[in-house]
């Protein structure tokens, strides 16, 4: 903010040649600083400072009210022995391992299905993408209703197909709860991955696969040796989005299973939420956040690595 007020009068000086140091080039740069400044100020206050503070807070015993005191790495030592945190991490990994291949395969199948010219294919693309624009909270409450025992339409369908009995409660065990949440997430997120993969598919020149087919390659061989390698950057990208999103899961479990039954579906972010904003142990919560951040940075680094590898081959 201070930069922009300082620079504005400079911009209004009409003949810039009057002062020797204010060359056209310098004027251009000053205006550059001025237009970039507001965004930089906002990002600094609400991103960079909290980022540094996360690590700072994690070294303290930091209650919501009252004084905080430096405790060194005690919070981290506590975390690696904290059974609740370890369970949350384990559950998050389990969820990620379950949902990632399901999403990727479904999205890939849909992308191949709608990868055509014509109005019909475009209309189906729009339909398949529709759940993406509904928020996670709304989608979770919608599916919570669909899966209610006895009065939910989805439970009713399952009874009609003879899959479950009328009083089966899908929220009674952590495993069925996890499967149900995964079904909801698949419904909501697949469209997003489909669109990304579709844009990857459409950037592959059609002549390449055609040439391979003319040379006698089967449909599968053409897919395996032409399409898949060329799709690798997009696949890597989608994979990283998907893994990062799953590691950060919160809304769907908070709403649909409330972390239950018997804390069986608490994710990492959910545990951070409970530590920081229910127990108000902000210092410990920050330490858990810092650990999560390192994990996510590792995922991002892996993305870079995967993408670079594809650039060279």
């Amino acid at each position: 903010m201070t930069v922009s007020t300082k620079a504005r009068p400079v911009a209004d000086v009409s003949p810039p040649a009057r002062r020797p140091w204010l060359t056209n080039r310098r004027r251009r740069q000053l205006i550059g600083v001025a237009v970039v400044a507001p965004a930089v100020v906002v990002v600094t206050i609400f991103f960079l400072i909290p980022l540094v503070m996360t690590f700072w807070m994690s070294l303290h015993d930091w209650p919501l009210l009252g004084a905080h005191k430096f405790v060194g790495l005690a919070n981290y030592r506590r975390a690696i022995h904290d059974q609740q945190w370890l369970n949350a991490v384990l559950f998050t990994l389990k969820y990620t391992l379950l949902i990632t291949p399901v999403l990727l395969i479904t999205a890939l199948a849909l992308a191949f299905l709608v990868n055509r010219r014509g109005t019909a294919a475009r209309a189906f693309q729009s339909v398949f993408f529709l759940p993406v624009v509904i928020g996670f909270a709304a989608a979770a409450y919608l599916w919570l209703y669909l899966a209610q025992p006895s009065l939910g339409p989805l439970s009713d369908l399952a009874v009609h197909f003879g899959l479950t009995s009328r009083d089966t409660n899908w929220f009674a065990t952590a495993t069925s709860g996890l499967l149900l949440v995964s079904a909801m997430v698949t419904w909501k997120v697949t469209g997003m991955q489909m669109i990304l993969l579709l844009s990857g598919l459409q950037s592959i020149p059609g002549e390449l696969t055609e040439a391979a087919r003319i040379d006698g390659a089967g449909r599968f061989a053409a897919f395996r040796h032409i399409t898949l390698p060329l799709l690798r950057p997009t696949l890597a990208l989608v994979l990283v989005f998907s893994v990062a999103g799953s590691l950060l899961a919160f809304d769907q479990f908070y709403i649909m299973t409330a972390g239950g039954p018997s804390n069986g579906t608490i994710t990492a972010v959910y545990q951070i939420y409970r530590v920081s904003f229910i127990n108000f142990e902000l210092g410990y919560g920050a330490a858990l956040s810092a650990m999560l951040m390192v994990a996510l940075a590792a995922v991002s680094a892996l993305q870079m690595l995967l993408l670079r590898k594809t650039d060279h081959s």
Binding site: A11, R28, Q29, L30, I31, G32, A34, V35, V36, A39, V40, V42, V43, I45, F46, F47, L48, P50, L51, M53, T54, M57, L113, V114, A120, F124, P131, V133, I134, G135, F136, A137, A138, A139, Y141, L142, Y145, S150, L151, P153, D156, W187, G191, M192, I195, L196, L248, F250, Y254, I255, V269, I272, Y273, F277, S289, A290, L292, M293, L296, S300
Partner: protein, 284 residues
Amino acid sequence: MKTFADVRRTLPRAAWWIACLCVSLVVLYPIYMMVSQSLKSSAESTSNPPTLYPHTFSVDNYRSLGNTGQFGIWQHVLNSVVVAAGSTVLTVALATLAGYGFARLRFRGSGLLFFVILATFMIPFQAIITPLFSILHDLGLGNTLLGLTLVYTTFQLPFGIFLMRNSFASLPASIEEAALIDGCGYLKAMARVMLPVAIPGLISTALFTFFTSWNEFFAALILVTDEAKFTLPVTLTVLATNQLGTLNWGIMQAGVAVTAVPCIVLYLLLQRYYVAGLVAGAVK
């Protein structure tokens, strides 16, 4: 032989249609059920087994939304509109200025600064929510819609700046030079000449920010604790708990519809920009 060839040509086509229609059914079924349930009378909405369509058509659930919770749904719709519109306007304004600066008015260190801002992409706000809560509190922005708006703006800015920088950078320098020769200042040149060409990027930025802010749940749940200031997603938790112990699924789904339908309509109207922005952002 002719009929055989016909079958060979039409069969895959028919299979394609059947496959697509089946997937559409799965995708649209929950959305249909949401609308259907919200239009049932309260007796019908708890019937076991559930009905497929409203036999007793009624808009009572939407009427009841007006006096659920302490404040009624309209207060929360207004909150959501204020936050989503506020962060959209703020993000578009800041991202346009900064995008123009990073693309056209380079200065020493601007490349590094751009990289730092893009790094925000990699760290999600869930990981820094604890200090964010303290900082908002210290600034007197804790528990306010303005605080929430600023947080949403911050986390949409990197994407917006990236999109706008690319839009401006793809324009030939000659148009801008022509405007400058005609006597425009830099900002005037941007507004008059560059901005009209960058409109698609701008709409994508605006749409993304609006959708994200409208739907965001986690930060809204933590940073706003006063029920009068709840945005719609958090209000749904009130609908789920405040029904005197028994949950009214009709009213609940009416609440879900009020939250979801504006996004669906907006998407159907402007999907061209939405998908283009998505793909442009992903191919960075």
